[in-house]
């Protein structure tokens, strides 16, 4: 795998509070309520939706171009995955359209060997952190082998349960701290996940043991159909950090550079022994929850329009264009390359031989246990009329509805 992670040092380290433009600490009551759309003033951001720069950007134009290229590639993946799912070539897919800024920005702030524990929606983030597209696709075809990342890539398989994986990032970071490495653990989760008891226990353990953990919440407005504004009565997600004596900050999640800067700051705090922090990236899920979801049942069709205007790619494109660093040719080059990359990855994933019965039974333990060995043997006598491997359960289903994931 190409090492996709920049090793530039940010030179930051003044703490998350220093990022807030108003000077109000992120953990004070000054942090705005999470009504989407009207809180740019109290949220950390660097690039406005129209591409105007609010502050001096701590990255070069080339670095910005790289971030942009990554976002274009990620969007190509997302678009392609939606199409593949409709063709029945992928199992349920959870699109991240609209969240590319948050995901690419966050991942770009990490070191190549940092631990990452993210979710089903974080394909862009995981990819940018080192998880090959090939394996992300393989996983989404319904194949456990998609979770087997290459040695040296320290990214856990995307978490399907909501909430349970954050504490793993605490244990991972704790182990690194005890071992004295400068590796940190980064965990990404949604607004909905903050309602789970496991969020509380993870945040508290991280604070109590001062583990180098970065908690990264993509507040995309919904937990499936349930709006963030109803999930909690707190002023923001970021402010919840205060209950753990931890720094917290709200960031414009559609501003890839602001996210990069905030996560890099949190990571460097963690690396330096200053412990965990919580970043809330305010964003919006443009698409459905998953390919099985119909958002028109719970939100007005035009709700997303204001968010299209805040598109994370478009604002960077405008900024680059204003600097003479974007051309139509470059754009189509990027898109062609991205599409080709994704298509190669799809071809690869689809060329992988069907998983076997033996593999299924041999994956549970280091060595199959006695009961599993017996089941493997008995299988020698499985009647040939059994369904051939890889036909999935559709034929058993007899169900007219599509696969539905919660």
């Amino acid at each position: 795998m190409e090492n996709r992670v920049s090793s530039r040092k940010s030179g930051l380290g003044r703490g998350l509070d220093a990022l807030i433009p108003t000077g109000a600490g992120p953990t004070s009551g000054a942090v705005a309520r999470q009504t989407p759309g009207d809180d740019t003033a109290t949220m950390f951001g660097l690039i406005d939706p129209d591409g105007a720069v609010r502050d001096r950007l701590p990255i070069t134009v080339d670095e910005m171009k790289a971030l942009y290229a990554d976002m274009v590639e990620a969007r190509a993946f997302d678009t392609k995955s939606m199409a593949l799912q409709r063709q029945g070539r992928l199992a349920t897919y959870a699109p991240f359209r609209g969240q590319e800024g948050a995901q690419i920005g966050a991942a770009a702030a990490l070191h190549a060997d940092d631990w990452v524990a993210a979710t089903y929606r974080d394909a862009a983030l995981n990819w940018r952190a080192g998880y090959p597209w090939e394996l992300l696709i393989l996983g989404r075809t319904g194949d456990e082998r998609g979770g087997e990342v290459p040695e040296g890539v320290n990214i856990l398989p995307p978490s399907i349960t909501v909430g349970g994986h954050m504490i793993h990032a605490v244990g991972l970071a704790w182990a690194e701290m005890l071992a004295g490495t400068d590796r940190i653990a980064f965990t990404s989760f949604g607004d909905g996940a903050t309602s789970e008891g496991d969020f509380h226990e993870a945040m508290n353990f991280a604070a109590v043991y001062n583990t180098p953990t970065v908690f990264f919440c993509q507040n995309n407005g919904y937990a499936i159909s349930y709006p963030t504004s109803e999930q909690t009565r707190s002023e923001s997600i970021a402010i919840k950090a205060e209950a753990y004596g931890m720094p917290g900050i709200r960031v414009d999640g559609n501003d890839v550079v602001a996210v990069l800067v905030a996560v890099r700051e949190a990571a460097s705090l963690a690396r330096s022994g200053a412990g965990p922090s919580l970043i809330e990236a305010v964003t919006y899920r443009i698409g459905p929850h998953t390919t099985a979801d119909d958002p028109s049942r719970y939100r007005p069709a035009d709700e997303g329009d204001q968010w299209e205007d805040k598109d994370p790619l478009e604002r960077v494109r405008r900024l680059l264009e204003s600097q003479g660093a974007w051309t139509e040719e470059w754009q189509s080059e990027l898109e062609t390359e991205a599409t080709q990359t994704i298509e190669r990855a799809v071809d690869w994933a689809e060329s992988i031989p069907e998983p076997t019965f033996e593999e299924m039974l041999s994956r549970m333990y280091a060595q199959p246990t006695a009961p599993l060995r017996e089941q493997l043997d008995r299988e020698g006598g499985r009647p040939p009329s059994d369904p051939p491997p890889g036909q999935g359960g559709g034929k058993h289903a007899g169900s007219t509805h599509e696969a539905v994931d919660g």
């Binding site: 349970g164 999930q231 299924m360 369904p387 491997p389 359960g393 034929k395 169900s399």
Partner: protein, 325 residues
């Protein structure tokens, strides 16, 4: 009478219960505005109001614990957990509190609540969406565990569960939600929690199953019947309290039994049934009670589902094995 599938039967039962008893409220993730990921609560919030049908935060322990509080205070909450694989964060509330408040207070406080949970695999879903861990609930004293496999039972058992003075875990076979339609009465009727249902009578071998696997079990019975084997089919319907008498009465007649379930074999509820049969009818048994089950693995992802799910052929082969001895 109306021809409905299992999902519609459940939706109708909830609608009926909300209409019949003002103590009934529903709560769960995404059950309000969207009507649940499987649409089992579709339209109920509009029809009965947001004060009866609550969307909740993603917090299963909170959902079940809050429902328990409501039940103690005299309501009849029906909680939905989105998938059986997401019920585990609530397991402590279920085993430590829901199932015990009556015992702990010597009947002074009770938990008349229902926890509805879609379960089972076969639709190519993501990890955790295909669990069949009924055994971990059926082992809990103080609970009832019910699993319908037909629209008619679904409506009658759910209405009975909501009326029951004790807590009921109500498992809904995802694979059967929309698999078959059946004419069922529109009226308020209950199907008793407890007794097994003899679905097909026969003399040679008894096939025993519940929920989603009833489909394969029925097909196997049909195939065996075509070969001239006289097959009895039992839909257990209620795992706890288990109707051992109903099962044993059948096996004492046929002398042969096959238990079918989707969960892994080791520690699955089929073990309880096989153990109970041999305890009571060892000398009637012509052959060992066979178990056709999932393997001792995690329920696999889409591409391996075919490797995992018990098939009609495996059931037929097991039944034949009992007949060949």
């Amino acid at each position: 009478m109306a021809e409905v599938n299992l999902a519609q039967a459940l939706n109708g039962a909830l609608d009926t219960a909300l209409g019949a008893d003002e103590r009934v409220v529903l709560l769960g993730e995404d059950i309000g505005r969207t009507g649940g990921v499987f649409r089992i609560t579709d339209g109920l919030r509009d029809r009965h109001g947001p004060e009866r049908v609550f969307d909740t935060p993603v917090a299963e322990s909170g959902i079940v614990g809050a429902a328990l509080g409501m039940a103690i205070a005299g309501m009849r909450p029906v909680a939905e957990l989105q998938f059986l694989g997401f019920s585990y964060p609530a397991y402590d509330q279920v085993i430590s509190h829901v199932a015990r408040i009556r015992n702990r207070s010597n009947h002074r406080f009770t938990a008349p609540l229902v926890i509805r949970i879609p379960y089972g695999g076969g639709i190519g879903a993501a990890e955790h969406h295909s669990e069949s861990t009924e055994a971990i609930y059926a082992h809990i004293p103080g609970l009832k565990v019910v699993v319908p496999s037909t629209p008619r039972d679904a409506r009658g058992l759910l209405l009975a569960a909501i009326e029951d003075p004790d807590p009921v875990v109500f498992l809904e076979p995802i694979r059967l939600y929309r698999a078959v339609k059946e004419d069922i009465p529109d009226i308020y009727y209950k199907v008793e929690i407890g007794p097994v249902r003899i679905e097909r009578s026969g003399d040679d071998v008894t096939l025993i199953s519940w929920g989603a696997m009833m489909r394969e079990t029925r097909a196997a019975a049909g195939a065996l019947g075509d070969e001239g084997v006289s097959v009895e089919v039992i839909d257990v319907c209620t795992l706890a309290p288990l109707d051992r008498e109903g099962i044993v009465a059948s096996v004492e007649r046929t002398g042969r039994a096959v238990v079918v379930h989707e969960a892994p074999i080791t520690g699955g509820f089929g073990g309880e049934i096989a153990a109970s049969i041999q305890e009571r009818s060892l000398y009637s048994l012509q052959a060992p009670v066979q178990r056709v089950t999932g393997w001792d693995t995690v329920f696999p992802l889409k591409r391996s589902e075919g490797h995992y799910l018990p098939t009609v052929d495996r059931i037929v082969a097991a039944a034949r094995a009992t007949l060949e001895v």
